[in-house]
């Protein structure tokens, strides 16, 4: 870490004596290698952005962007004035907040736990088992979970009844619905999410642990003072990325669990837009919603990044 900082400090001085063009010439091979990557982003990420124009049009695919009529902010007005918009936005934010609260730290804890397992084969097995749910699609997972939580057939409710309690229809009960979403997401994503942290942990210099042991640190102290600090950069980056997903709810998940009984707590932007769009090919409206979502996401990422820069050195920009 220290050496890197030194180099970082050296960079501006280099810049100053060579200048921008000088740098360009001096590092020409590097810049050449950058071109394909830049081209990729220009062609595939920035190029299609002109399509956002249809958010401000009454777009018909047959007429194309050139031929469709411009309508200004009509679709945004329609979105904001919809009677369900406020509750849908609220649901999206609450569910995302719960997910960040529970599902963001969980893979870190799992990673720390896995890292402490000394038995190598058991560690690998535990890792593999925890990844597996990631590869099952939400359609299947939701089917399994709905069956698992069924008030008449599900093991949880059978257990509740054995204990003399009333069975609970978790999936249809507004009180429990968000919990079902968060926990099913946790089950599905925890193993996969921990991979990136495990990769970071393998990069920790073993001599640091040895030195800590010499100083008399136990397991907990080693986690707190060696492993965790090594993870801080990646945690920061992951958190910044996660903050951008607050409005990008998981359509596949929510759609498969959602029923009219739980609209009031579970209807999120993507399921709402799906229902709006399915009636008619409302390309303009759905583009407007996406644009709105992405602007909010962009602001959130920038804000989180700003806070990260204020509090530690590991911000993205």
């Amino acid at each position: 870490m220290k050496t890197e900082k030194k180099k970082g400090a050296a960079a501006p001085s280099r810049k100053s004596h060579r200048g921008f063009l000088g740098n360009l010439v001096y590092y020409k091979e590097y810049y050449l290698m950058l071109i394909p990557g830049l081209l990729f982003f220009l062609v595939f990420c920035y190029g299609p952005m002109y399509g956002l124009a249809i958010a401000f049009q009454d777009y018909y695919p047959l007429k194309g962007i050139g031929g469709s009529a411009w309508v200004g902010f009509k679709h945004f007005k329609k979105l904001f004035s919809d009677p369900f918009f406020v509750s849908v936005l609220k649901n999206t934010l609450i569910i995302s907040f719960y997910k960040i609260l529970v599902c963001f730290p969980a893979p870190i804890l799992l990673c720390l736990a896995l890292n402490e397992i000394r038995h190598l084969r058991f560690k690998k097995l535990a890792q593999s088992v925890s990844y597996l749910p990631h590869f099952i699609s939400w359609v299947v997972v939701s089917g399994i979970i709905i069956e698992f939580l069924s008030p008449s057939r599900g093991p949880i409710n059978i257990l509740l009844q054995e204990l003399g309690l009333e069975p609970i229809f978790f999936v249809a009960e507004p009180r429990y619905f968000r919990g079902v979403l968060v926990i099913s997401d946790l089950w599905k994503s925890i193993g996969w999410g921990s991979i990136v942290y495990l990769a970071a942990v393998t990069g920790v210099d073993p001599t640091l642990y040895e030195a800590a042991e010499m100083d008399g640190a136990g397991r907990v102290k080693k986690i707190l003072h060696v492993t965790l600090p090594a993870l801080v950069p990646i945690i920061t980056v992951m958190f910044i990325m996660e903050s951008g997903k607050v409005l990008n709810d998981s359509f596949e998940q929510v759609y498969n669990f959602l029923t009219p009984s739980t609209y009031q707590v579970g209807d999120v932007i993507s399921t709402f837009v799906y229902r709006m769009g399915i009636q008619k090919m409302q390309y303009s409206f759905t583009t407007a919603v996406d644009l709105f979502k992405n602007i909010v996401s962009f602001i959130l990422v920038m804000a989180t990044n700003y806070m990260a820069r204020k509090t530690n050195d590991y911000a993205l920009w």
Partner: protein, 550 residues
């Protein structure tokens, strides 16, 4: 830090490039394969057209090219297939078919249209697309007088079976665009567990009150004999029959909910939203009562279907409920002999696979307090077939199309050829009617199902009389789907109305909200644009009907 970050970034970029280049390869390949035939075809038709123009000028004997697109499962036709040759010879045409990838059908179709390509004949799946197609210059005008003149047999049948909406369906801005067909639509049938009824010594019920008695017995008297009180009467798929007993059309759909976008055409020929009709409150009261009594499975909220083929009812198959609702053919093709596996539909096979002892019987829809009854059914006018602008401007193409339409109504041998193909090759004749030997793309490549008009009334009566007779024997009155004329006021608010209704209905059935909430709901529904939408649809429909009168 910066350097590692840079390195990381570089690594990410490299892998990103690798992935995208790979993805690029595969997708561009795919595009090529899909585009190649398209371009080839376009080129061909272009060339063919030009060639044809020259030759028509020369001798007026060359067959005219007619390109069809009838549905999502499409395929190009094999020019040497026997069926294709027979059809081509008969109508003096060169029959072609458009292939559009069934996955993302609508998107792919739009891309082709945007590129200036079009077939000659096009089936419009959804009436709400008609204005888009007309305004976009895709679909051309086909005056009713021309249809009446060139296809008299079709016109005769259409007049005879006109449900009041037939001739007005394809009117837009006072002009007619294409033809619609009088279809043989079979309403939903009520399927009972016969072994449960027999065990409890009960008859198939006929009225709503008798329904309640039998369904209560299913809850209370342990019809599956496992000693546990773990059975219910019915779930959401039978709701439409309860609404039907009060004279209303209700569609619950594949995923539990209520399809508000499907309006009902009243007896006075005025369309309305059945869900805010005063009688809907009575139907809801009944459903709530049944929910409280346990007749309605508490788990109707997550639906009868738990994946797989939409019309499978897992609750019914697993013996949790004793009544469900589906199309007759989903379970049975005939009731000649229920032990014969050949007569079983896909749902019946699944049911027997899970429980070989399960037996079913089809009963009538419940009769309500005012003597009304019925179940929901699909359109009576359907297969909205249009000519594109490219075909509508060529009199020879118009003539050929109308000749093919007329023949489908006048000559049942031809209709059978277009729909089923040749006996022994494409279908076999059984006591229960013709049964296909080939399906999907393979069948369509042979030219079958490429220029047909579906199960029209004449077709159902003459080509598949056994199936038709069975379907209508086991069902009663149908509340059929109404082709809603496309209006902005409707499409703008329909999703909101849908959400509003589903939420309110589920809450009132389960008792989360009291039944008196219905009046509040109706007010909210109207205020959210429901009133304006209903009025706009009524006006647009009246205008269409008026356009026919002239």
């Amino acid at each position: 830090m910066k350097k590692t970050y840079k390195r990381l970034m570089a690594g990410m970029l490299v892998s990103a490039i690798a992935i995208t280049s790979l993805a690029g390869c595969s997708s561009s390949n795919k595009e090529e394969t899909t585009k190649a035939p398209a371009a080839g075809e376009a080129g061909k038709t272009q060339a063919a057209k030009e060639e044809e123009k020259e030759t028509t000028a020369a001798e007026n004997q060359e067959p005219v090219t007619l390109t069809w697109l009838v549905g999502e499962t499409s395929s190009e036709v094999d020019d040497n297939a026997e069926v294709v040759k027979m059809i081509e010879e008969r109508f003096h045409i060169d029959m072609k078919a458009w292939q559009v990838d069934a996955k993302n059908f609508q998107e792919n179709l739009n891309v082709r249209f945007a590129g200036g390509e079009m077939p000659d004949v096009l089936v419009v799946n959804n009436l709400s697309l008609l204005p888009t197609y007309v305004d976009g210059g895709i679909v051309g005008e086909l005056p009713i007088e021309v249809i009446r003149e060139k296809a008299p047999n079709y016109a005769k049948v259409a007049d005879e079976y006109d449900d009041g909406t037939l001739w007005s369906t394809m009117i837009y801005n006072g002009k007619n665009y294409g033809v619609t067909n009088p279809m043989d639509a079979v309403p939903m049938a009520m399927f009972w567990r016969k072994d449960w009824l027999d065990k409890l010594g009960l008859e198939v019920p006929k009225t709503l009150d008798e329904y309640e008695e039998v369904l209560t017995a299913f809850v209370e008297q342990d019809p599956d004999g496992n000693g546990k009180k773990d059975t219910a009467g019915m779930a959401e798929r039978a709701f439409n029959a309860v609404f039907g007993a009060y004279g209303l059309r209700c569609v619950t759909g594949g995923k539990p909910g209520f399809k508000v976008e499907e309006m009902q055409l009243g007896e006075d020929n005025v369309p309305f939203f059945p869900y805010i009709h005063p009688d809907a409150k009575l139907a809801l009261a009944k459903l709530h009562d049944w929910y409280e009594k346990g007749i309605i499975d508490k788990e109707f909220i997550t639906g009868e279907n738990h994946g797989g083929y939409t019309w499978l009812s897992h609750s019914f198959m697993n013996g949790r409920i004793g009544l469900t609702c589906a199309q007759p053919y989903h379970y049975l093709n005939t009731d000649r002999d229920l032990t014969d596996e050949k007569t079983w539909g896909v749902c019946m096979r699944e049911l027997k696979g899970l429980d070989p002892d399960a037996e079913i019987v089809i009963g009538p829809a419940p009769v309500g307090p005012d003597g009304k009854s019925g179940t929901e059914g699909w359109n009576l006018t359907g297969r909205l077939t249009c000519l594109t602008t490219q075909a509508a401007s060529d009199p020879r193409k118009v003539d050929a199309f109308l000749a093919m339409l007329d023949a489908y109504y006048a000559d049942m041998e031809y209709a059978k050829l277009a729909n089923y193909g040749l006996e022994g090759i494409h279908f076999e004749q059984t006591p229960d009617g013709p049964v296909r030997l080939m399906e999907g793309v393979e069948l369509r490549r042979e030219g079958v199902l490429q220029c047909d008009f579906g199960s029209t009334v004449t077709f159902a009566k003459n080509v598949t009389p056994e199936k038709t007779e069975f379907g209508h024997k086991v069902t009663g009155n149908g509340y059929y789907r109404f082709n809603i004329p496309p209006v902005q006021e409707f499409s703008d608010v329909i999703a909101t109305l849908d959400t509003l209704t589903e939420q309110a209905y589920f809450d009132m059935i389960t008792g989360t909200k009291p039944l008196d909430y219905f009046d509040t709901f109706v007010e909210e529904f109207k205020k959210a644009g429901g009133e304006a939408a209903e009025k706009a649809v009524q006006e647009a429909y009246a205008a269409k009907v008026a356009a026919i009168g002239n």
